[in-house]
């Protein structure tokens, strides 16, 4: 049985501690109120500076709410002074294996590849080894001059994981855009597959569930050069959107990988996305199989006949 004197003594101690906590909290709240606007303004300025450092020609950037993903705080569509799209800047928060957040601005080009990265905020002790004077990721371990692609430190992994995650978000988006009923054909892609192509407006009926669309490609004289088939094949990471050039004989002449989610695709494509005809590489056979299956399936359709 606790006597009244002891109970009051303990209560007194607790009350005094409470008063100290309240006073300290009040002072902290006061400093917070004084600094919150300055901190928010500084963060916004750093984000805008980061966008301008990554896209040197950037003139305007508007938030694009259609692009979302884990870790993504906001995505800004960046355009130059003429309004031409330059790409996107992703306000991304990565997580370091040290347990801290790493705030980054990641620049993505119109092809979905990461162009640059700037660290906006972090609580890492060694992250500045990978950053230049403007806090941009240099891809190189600054102190030793060695590219730590083996992932030697947790800070390095946070940056590399962020790049991979953002590229996957944009690749998934591109795959979804292209995986449509009509197929999407762009002039640059047709030009890569067909030399001398002038017209590709005429469409043919789709006759296979994996085929998104078929267009007839003709030269300036109206002679049929072949058909361009938009095809969805299943790769290692998910759907892969391919454009296949089919000769009038029905034979596949070339393949362009328009969008994919496979990390090992670089074994089989040139810089412009054209299939380089390489044999299957160990550890990347499913990507190779996806392309080969598409070629086999499209040739089996026996598309042919002059128009």
């Amino acid at each position: 049985m606790v006597n009244k004197k002891t109970a009051w003594h303990v209560t007194n101690i607790a009350l005094r501690l409470l008063v100290i906590c309240l006073v300290v909290a009040a002072l902290t709240a006061l400093v917070y109120a004084v600094t919150v606007d300055t901190i928010a303004k500084g963060e916004q300025e750093r984000k805008e500076n980061a966008i301008r450092l990554i896209f040197t020609e950037a003139d305007s950037f508007t938030e694009d709410p259609s692009i979302v993903g884990e870790g993504v705080n906001a995505v800004y569509a960046v355009a130059d002074a003429n309004g031409a799209p330059l790409g996107w800047c992703v306000d991304y928060t990565g997580v370091s294996e040290y347990g801290g957040d790493v705030g980054m601005m990641i620049g993505v080009g119109t092809d979905g590849r990461v162009l640059g990265l700037q660290v906006i905020s972090h609580a890492e002790t060694f992250i500045d080894r990978y950053l230049d004077g403007e806090n941009r990721y240099t891809g190189v371990e600054k102190t030793y001059g060695v590219d730590l692609s083996a992932g030697a430190t947790m800070s390095y992994n946070a940056i590399r994981n962020a790049i991979a995650a953002v590229e996957k978000i944009f690749a998934t988006r591109k795959v979804a855009e292209l995986d449509g009923d009509d197929g999407v054909f762009q002039k640059e892609q047709i030009d890569l597959l067909f030399s001398g192509a002038a017209d590709f407006s005429q469409r043919e009926d789709v006759i296979d569930s994996n085929v998104n669309g078929i267009c007839l490609v003709k030269n300036a004289d109206g002679v049929l050069l072949g058909r361009c088939v938009s095809y969805t094949s299943l790769g290692y990471g998910g759907d892969m959107e391919l454009l296949l050039s089919v000769l009038p004989t029905g034979k596949v002449d070339g393949v362009l990988v328009a969008a994919h989610l496979d990390s090992e695709m670089f074994h089989y494509t040139n810089d412009n996305g054209l299939y380089n005809g390489a044999d299957a590489v160990a550890g990347a056979t499913r990507s190779h199989r996806a392309i080969q299956n598409a070629i086999t399936a499209v040739e089996a359709l026996q598309l042919g006949g002059a128009q």
Binding site: L17, V24, T35, G42
Partner: protein, 219 residues
């Protein structure tokens, strides 16, 4: 005034918290890769030391003895949070350089030790001066270690190149192992200098005693 100067000398030299008391080792090793970071960390810790000592001394009769450590921690962490917010708002580049070591000032032994050993037992002004003295002593130690590490390990001082592009820095000194080595040598050097002064006093006392002993014998 004399007492004030004596306190300052105590904090910076005679009883330096890092080089003599060996407190605050973690930030000393981690933030001394550059002199600029060392100064920033030292000043941040000094501000927290002054205000926490002041506040704790003000409330020394109000803080119950049984929960004094908890009360000290609440006060110290409050001031560290305020310093962190102010740095984030007004000196963001330094805030970013120091990173996680700013909130870690809360667990810096120097601050809790001075709160317990001095501020909770003395008046407000001497406590504030003690905080200033210890903070300056801590900053001085950080600058000493950082100077060696940055010059030898990076060939720069305060970011300015001293030896030109041809200098091949001894990278070990900006690594953790180099931090330990540098700190060890700096402490050894400081102890030697302190002991030289004390040795001289002891030798003088011994000579006086010997002279007196000789005089007594002749008598």
């Amino acid at each position: 005034m004399k007492g004030f100067l004596k306190q300052l000398k105590e904090g910076i030299l005679d009883n330096n918290p890092t080089l003599v008391q060996l407190l605050g080792m973690c930030p000393t090793l981690a933030t001394t890769t550059s002199v600029k970071n060392a100064i920033g960390m030292g000043l941040a810790a000094t501000v927290v030391l002054i205000f926490s000592n002041l506040f704790i001394s003000l409330l020394r009769k109000f803080i119950p003895k049984q929960v004094r450590i908890a009360a000290f921690i609440v006060i110290i962490s409050g001031f560290v949070t305020m310093v962190e917010l102010l740095m984030k708002a007004f000196v963001y580049s330094l805030y970013q350089s120091l990173g996680i070591f700013i909130p870690l000032i809360v667990v810096n032994c120097i601050i809790l030790a001075r709160a317990e050993a001095y501020a909770s037992k003395n008046k407000v002004l001497p406590s504030a001066v003690d905080g200033l003295a210890m903070g300056l002593g801590f900053t001085f130690a950080l600058i000493l270690v950082a100077t060696v590490r940055e010059i030898v390990g990076n060939g720069t001082f305060m970011g300015l190149s001293l030896f030109g592009d041809g200098y091949a820095p001894a990278l070990l000194f900006i690594m953790p192992a180099g931090a330990f080595l540098t700190l060890g040598f700096v402490i050894a050097a400081v102890q030697k200098i302190r002991n030289m002064g004390q040795d001289k006093e002891r030798m003088e006392k011994l000579s006086k005693l010997e002279e007196e002993a000789e005089k007594e014998e002749t008598v």
